[in-house]
Symmetry: C2
Amino acid sequence: MTVTLAEVAKRARVGTGTVSRVLNGARNVSPSTRDRVQACIREMGYRPNLVARGLAASRTGMVCALIPAIGAPQHGEVIQGLGDVLHEHGIQLMIGDCGYQPDREEAIVADFLERRPDAFYLTGVVHNAKTRQMLRASGIPIVEGANLTDDPIDCVVGYSNFAAARALAQLMHRRGHRTMAFVASTSDPNDRIGDRLKGYLAACAELGQDTRGLVLESANNFNGGAAALDIVLHHAAPIDLLLCATDVLAVGAIFECQRRGIAVPGRLAIAGFDDLPLAAAISPGLTTVSVDRIAMGRVAGHMLLQRLAGRQSPYTKIDVGFTIRERASTGAGIAP
Amino acid sequence: MTVTLAEVAKRARVGTGTVSRVLNGARNVSPSTRDRVQACIREMGYRPNLVARGLAASRTGMVCALIPAIGAPQHGEVIQGLGDVLHEHGIQLMIGDCGYQPDREEAIVADFLERRPDAFYLTGVVHNAKTRQMLRASGIPIVEGANLTDDPIDCVVGYSNFAAARALAQLMHRRGHRTMAFVASTSDPNDRIGDRLKGYLAACAELGQDTRGLVLESANNFNGGAAALDIVLHHAAPIDLLLCATDVLAVGAIFECQRRGIAVPGRLAIAGFDDLPLAAAISPGLTTVSVDRIAMGRVAGHMLLQRLAGRQSPYTKIDVGFTIRERASTGAGIAP
DNA sequence: CTGTTAGCGCCTTCAC
DNA sequence: GTGAAGGCGCTAACAG
């Protein structure tokens, strides 16, 4: 039904090897035969079967990427950068959604490995022992992303969620905010959120805040932010800054403030984390931590390509850094 | 390096065919040999090579799905439903991001087809002639989604963006809104947005609005919504309802209203389309069109499974319907 | 430079 | 119920 390489070879009166060579751009083919073969390929509408190629070459040209939630714009951006870089090299992405669940991640890794991908991208740096073992045993390049660790499975490209949260808390302290609370999700526990919390606690310890260690837990959605606000307002010690582990929580809190007529940042300052498009659009603008996720994805892609080319790049850990965006929600640009 | 089926067969003292049979759950294997083989599989940690299986069986157990933007929650939900259903049948999804660009879609379809997927899911019902031709020629089941058409490539599951937009405009008219404008994105032209616009225009034609046909164009992001508001406010005929082609536009407009101190819905009512989580969270709540996208994805998955099972299901077009959610942004629940 | 020959790992008849 | 053998479509030596 579909035309095969052998048929092209017959039509072009050459061996299958030659067709394979022109297909893969080997240079040891005379221009004349190359042209003839390419003509046949075009005329016959030949399309290589990558499944067969993958089996023969034990290179599938496929990279698997695992993200905690397809549809989350943060991860989408990383995937976009990663996919762009890989695509330029004829490699395609197979994306898995592990829904913030480690055992689901393990199952997907197991499944995906049966498809013999050339490499793997994982979101986050904390994974099941079995997941790590499978990945290591596979022998293919692995890149973990969106956070940093000193003990990656293979290599890691990201930024320190810990350092970013700490820096944000410290900056807010310098800006005059004294009594702060931190709200994080419990619904989707993961290393990025966990490290943000730790960074906040570290800053508190260093600064000796009154409210040191005040931590709230809420589902990671708009309602969760609203719920946290409720607690903050009724807390014994008056709180003047709410640090949220994600922009979604922060925006939920801001919406709730609007509903209750609570001035932001006048009565309560609010900051987030992620710098979603929403953070810049909302009024007041949301102070948050920004990371160039597309660039991060691209770096991850280049790292994988390096490894795939056999080069053991000296970099096993790349920090892409972060930026704190101060906006009106914490008083930036507002006259005192 | 990795253990193969043949090695398992040798260890279990059976032929490769037998191992293959237990692997694929064929019933014509005696319980005793079945157990012995399964024991060996477990002991040796054998994992089948799906690339080889795909080549031999000409069934890859892979379905390709194309969405216009990975990271967009709407499409993420569809993929989630689709992936869930397929995964239960051991089928995995390969996701492509065509960025609202038809020629990119064409390129991705061409690439993906080389991997011999068992089926294809496409977002939207309008595609390149060449894309349609390639897909048809492939002979595999194709499902188009997120809209409806009478001329699908193979079959389609979605809802009528046209009918939904028209129903929304008509409902708003019944609620007393008389002079309305519609804003849609130009940056990402696609059939869903186009049909929403047509639905609005159809309603206008039927209702004989004063502002019949007032249509604005803006980039499909928060800023685009704000920009549209600017035009609406300066329009000669006073407009009392802004219908937005997407929730993102609508929310951008609401934010801008808040900045300018324009009462919503007092001075201007606003409605969106998509029912993102944001629509319910924002104040005022956003009136919008809601579709159960996860369910839509699941239906698409079942449709593909039907087709893959060889059953030519009588359904070639499934309408999953829509719901209009009236919220405060158009005056719902507000005393007159 | 180019044709030929083995496989890659698995499925699938086809006899036994 | 089970083993043996022949591909699936392609790549990768290996001769020439």
